[in-house]
Symmetry: none
Subunit: 177 residues, 2 copies
């Protein structure tokens, strides 16, 4: 809550608006803005939304803790994903425990499409193709990637990989919920 107060003050200062002017542009009573900046109150999201729009920033930018500040990463105890079949040459580089990320490098050659079942809910897959070419993505939404391209999609639905070029190499960041 104090984070919102800080952000609001900072963003308003940046925009050069006064409390009254911001309230006018956002169609919000300036007393409301005043209270918010004072850290008192419990605004509705609609109020915050209109303020964010008037400030020309996204909602997240208004409510999120500024990235630069030190913040504790919550470590929820969650089960680890069982390793996928390594039929196409998957190497586990490392596990970023705190971030619940696994780093893989995948090396494969053209072959049958690999259908992957849905992983545990909340899984997100980040793929960086460093060599070759690949068609991948959730069922019905596959995209073709070439060397250098990057893609991210939810891994908690059925998805597939199809290697299109020999000696294709992929860096896979598996993000677990």
């Amino acid at each position: 809550m104090t984070a919102i107060a800080t952000n609001l003050r900072r963003l308003r200062d940046r925009s050069g608006f006064s409390i009254g002017e911001l309230g006018r542009r956002a169609a919000v009573a300036k007393s409301t803005v005043s209270n918010l900046e004072a850290g008192t109150g419990n605004p509705s999201i609609e109020t915050l939304w209109t303020l964010a729009r008037a400030l020309g920033v996204t909602f997240a930018e208004l409510v999120e803790e500024p990235r630069a500040s030190v913040r504790v990463v919550r470590i929820d105890a969650m089960p680890l994903i069982p390793d996928d079949s390594t039929s196409c040459g998957v190497r586990l580089l490392d596990t970023i425990q705190r971030a619940r990320c696994d780093l893989y490098v995948v090396e494969s050659d053209p072959g049958p499409t690999r259908e992957a079942a849905a992983h545990t809910p909340g899984t997100i897959e980040h793929l960086i193709v460093t060599a070759g070419s690949l068609r991948c993505g959730p069922a019905g939404e596959q995209v073709v990637l070439s060397a250098g391209d990057y893609a991210v999609f939810h891994g908690d639905v059925p998805h597939s990989y199809e290697t299109l070029a020999p000696r294709t190499q992929i860096i896979l960041v598996m993000e677990h919920s």
Copy 2:
């Protein structure tokens, strides 16, 4: 607003909680939860905050528009941030908000050693060399990496990078505290 309704429903389904149980854990009336999932209402951030905590997710995860199921960033669409002094360019692929990780791809050619000052405490750098060769690491502990090698070290102390081969490419996962 409907985004919040959708997110809430999805996250609650994922957690396996019923509306009543979620309300109980979050100390929120279940009628409130019911209304929110119906898309009616204009919740206060406190309500959303406690719901997010009860669901074990961040506030942003609850309120943000769900990203497209598959998102692609083409290599030529990513701005290359050049560093003329060391003939190396960096592209930001993506940011994993929840895990406080940034994904970069670094392309460089042999040149002067790049000395990096200590980053914010707790920063850890993961490097995957996908092409070329590189000497890197904290001061006094540099290692030489070739294509396919992986290294991880603390970024909150002075460290350096020295490209040893032309067209060296590195995937960099910058993990913040």
